[in-house]
């Protein structure tokens, strides 16, 4: 098993506004990089005041808005030998397959992938998902709205957990 691959994240949500929020939080921020590295100030700042903040481990990310697309994406990723590390999954995605069905099918295909159920609705309890998409250490429940720090923290921890597992 390759241990040097860049982790892959999959975000599934039918609300394009939420997808946009995911993009702002999880994609590398061009605005921040542009502003903070204007005129090459980062190098001068480093010279004047010491080391800047360490760069985060990079990840690749895919955004989808329908459950069936997510199932297919997971399937093709496994077939390509480049499976997703974690999936952020909405629950209500009318008119197609809902998050519960997606989680069930994904878990059947990939027992290792981390799934984060991100929902603003309490149709299903965590226990319901645990039954069909467990185990508990690979299933996280996050209520909406998306809190960026928490989201990035969860993404980081899952990537690190997966990497650390792969190293063993």
């Amino acid at each position: 098993m390759s241990i040097n691959r860049t982790p892959r994240l999959l975000v599934v949500d039918d609300d394009l506004g939420v997808i946009a929020a995911y993009r702002l939080v999880l994609e590398k921020s061009t605005e921040r990089r542009t502003v903070q590295d204007m005129f090459g100030l980062n190098a001068l700042e480093k010279e004047l005041f010491g080391a800047a903040a360490a760069e985060e481990q990079p990840w690749r990310i895919t955004f989808l808005d329908q459950g069936i697309d997510a199932v297919n994406a997971v399937k093709w990723a496994i077939e390509d030998g480049d499976p997703f590390t974690a999936i952020f999954l909405d629950v209500r995605m009318p008119p197609g397959m809902d998050g519960f069905e997606v989680a069930e099918q994904v878990r059947k295909m990939d027992p290792n992938v981390h799934m984060v159920i991100v929902t603003g609705f309490s149709d299903f309890m965590y226990e319901d998902f645990l039954e069909i998409a467990g185990p508990a250490d690979r299933l996280t429940y996050m209520p909406k709205p998306v809190w960026p720090d928490q989201l990035r923290s969860v993404a980081r921890s899952l990537i690190n957990k997966d990497t650390s597992l792969s190293l063993h």
Binding site: G17, V18, E31, Q36, M38, L44, L48, G120, F121, K144
Partner: protein, 615 residues
Amino acid sequence: MRISSKINAALFGAFACGTLATYVVLESTIKPQFDQIERSAAQLNHKRVTDAFEAFTDKLKTATHDYAFWDETYSFMQGEKTEEYIASNLTPEFKTVENLGVNALIFLGADNKLRWGVAYDLETQEPLDNMVEEIAHFSRSHAYIGGSADQAKRGIIGTSKGLFLVAIAPALKSDGTGDPMGKVISAKLLDVEAAKQLTGVDFSLEEFPQPVNHASLPENIELKTLDERIQTTSVLRSIVARPLVYLKVNSPRDVSRAGSTAIQSAMLMMITVGLAAIGILWAFLERTVVSRVAALKEHFATAGNSGKITATPGTNGTDEIGDLARSFNSMAGQVNQLRDALADSSYMSGLSEWAAGTLHNVRNGLSPVTATTWQVQQLFEGPWLKNIETAAKEHADAATTPDRREKLNTFLVGSAARFVEAAKKTTDLTAKINDASQAILDIVAEFESYAHRKTILEPVDLLLMFKTVAASTIDVQMKDTELILPHASAIITGNEVILRQVISNIFVNAVEAIEGQQHRGRIEVSIATSGQNSALTRIAISDNGEGLESDRLDAIFQRGVSTRNRATGGLGLHWCANAVKVMGGSIRAESDGPGLGVTIILELPKYEANLKEAA
């Protein structure tokens, strides 16, 4: 096909079959008996005629034998005392035959010569020409007849004057001994009318059609059934068995006619009685079955068309239809209860779904806000703001080397430009936050428009509704709580489903207020016209629970305030107050203080014929 039509068809079908079967049985069994009796009677009539002829000849025989078996006649026939015999016994001639009741009396000697003979028409008293000789000739031609005592005969012979009854006997001594000395013959014209009178039978004697075919003549009595009569025919034969004429006897068909009449009368009676029985049975079925089933059908159809399943009044009677009506009423009660429960559940579920859906949209809408805000935060994240502050301090410090000051200067100028750029980005991102916030406001506006949607108002029977709600709240939750409902109801204008939720909420609060009290619980409902506005109905729901302080009477209807911590949840009095307001009513609470119970007072518009939709 209606049930009454089926019953009619069945009754008339059964009756028609029964009538037809009876008719066939009567015609095939009874009628032939009548016909047989009639044929027997016809044959009896025929025999009666022939018996009458026998009786006539029997009289002739007696008269003939009186003369034939007599010593004086015996001597006379031998030629002795002729004059004397004639004078004393045969004179005057007409009187002799008239006294004997015959037309002719003839004495033939042993040598077949006429000793004496006369023939008269008894009515005209005129002699019958040639009749004596004709009869004598017949006797001579058939010498054996009357040739001896055992050959004495009687019968009929045909003559030129018609049929004659004759008796021929040998002339013997009075004791019947001696050689026959000739024959004594008496004859009488066959009187058909007299025979008819004697027998009471209508008959006729008819000549054979010429030429006579003896082979075709019937041996026995022939019976022919005609429409009005039965005709029996036989051949009347002479004393020497020679066919003479047909004897045709007509017998009326009275018996078969009486039989047919009897059968027809019986059938008529049966039809009359049967129709009457059908009428009575139909009336009975109409009253006990058809009309009641029709009423039930009408009731079911009304329930089916209107969707309102009310109890049928047709529960009288202990039969199956009564049982059916009672079962329907029981089922209707259960269905109504279930429908109410379903409506309540659907309403609650709808509210829950609506609220949850709105929350979902709000939560989704918040995600861009939090993300964009985070993005703004990220612009100023890191050590660079603190480094600007440090650089400014160092730049102002005289101890800073020129070279470092120059670099600090460059850094500060660059940072100023970077800060300006960050401020611009922040402005852009703030606009995005505003847009995302506006989206949330749109969701909330939609929520509000839904909350203020029009509520369909309808007439609501208060007492009926209280009973329904009580069955599912007080009865279930606290069976030892006494519920006192008013005797009279009132119809108000409202939404029954919403109002049931309001009343249910008030009842549940009352039950919980009663729990833990020492005395027995009591909830009393009263309905009256409002004292302040006659267009409103005042509903007071009082409990003897723990009561409320006066300063909390208004607060319990405010958002977020609960009378207690209910595990069961519920819509709460705040929601109730809004719902009642939507229906054009009001709600308030009264209490004399802790321990003295609470009275919730609802005022709702009385029902008016023209319903309106509440805004």
